[in-house]
């Protein structure tokens, strides 16, 4: 079979690009341990308020874990608990969130924290808050009549 020289060039170029893209995803998943926010952790949606750690929403200091704090959120129509929280700059935090009723969104605007909260599932994201400022949390999954008023605030302070 005859393959034109140019065809060889763009085939090699295309395959190499694809391999680079896939390797980045592979390293991210299997070496760095990145996973979807909702990854097999479940909860009884009717007993959220009495189930740890969701019985104490807010920023909680933890010992002996890879992260220093756990930032716990409970979402329900149409608010987040807590409504405002202060996080020290540079803290390594695990954000845990779930919903008591319908599907909600959890998007910390301007960051990579963007999760879907589904009844019965816990969404998690581990990150280091290394830029001071105010970060608005908005619901980006339509959840009902008050969807547009559903918000919360994270203040990263020194």
């Amino acid at each position: 079979m005859h393959i034109h020289k140019f065809e060889k060039i763009w085939l090699i170029f295309g395959v190499t690009t694809l391999l680079v893209f896939l390797s980045v995803i592979g390293v991210s998943a299997f070496y760095l341990g990145n996973q979807p926010p909702s990854c097999l952790a479940t909860i009884n949606p009717e007993k959220v308020d009495t189930t740890a750690p969701f019985d104490k929403p807010g920023l909680n200091k933890v010992e002996g874990k890879e992260w220093d704090y756990e930032l716990v959120y409970v979402a329900s129509a149409f608010n987040y608990t807590p409504g405002e929280v202060e996080v020290p700059l540079g803290a390594k935090v695990k954000v845990l969130a779930t919903t008591k009723d319908v599907v909600h969104g959890f998007n910390v605007a301007g960051t990579n924290i963007n999760m879907m909260l589904e009844p019965g599932y816990i969404s998690e994201y581990v990150t280091t808050f290394d830029k001071a400022g105010e970060y608005l949390i908005v619901c980006n999954e339509y959840c009902g009549a008050g969807h547009h008023m559903m918000s919360s605030m994270i203040k990263v302070v020194e």
Partner: protein
């Protein structure tokens, strides 16, 4: 006697069709566009927390 004339015609046609310079240029244009946008989104992801 008719054969030399036939050969000439076919050889010129094949040469015209086999020029892939334009195709090569458009493939790389699209390729670099994809790479630049991919790298842009990736940098955005890496620089945010």
């Amino acid at each position: 006697m008719a054969q030399p004339g036939l050969e000439k015609k076919t050889s010129t046609k094949v040469e015209d069709q086999s020029s892939l310079k334009g195709t090569l240029a458009s493939v790389f244009l699209l390729g670099f566009f994809l790479i630049i946008t991919w790298v842009g989104v990736f940098l955005l992801f890496v620089n945010r927390f």
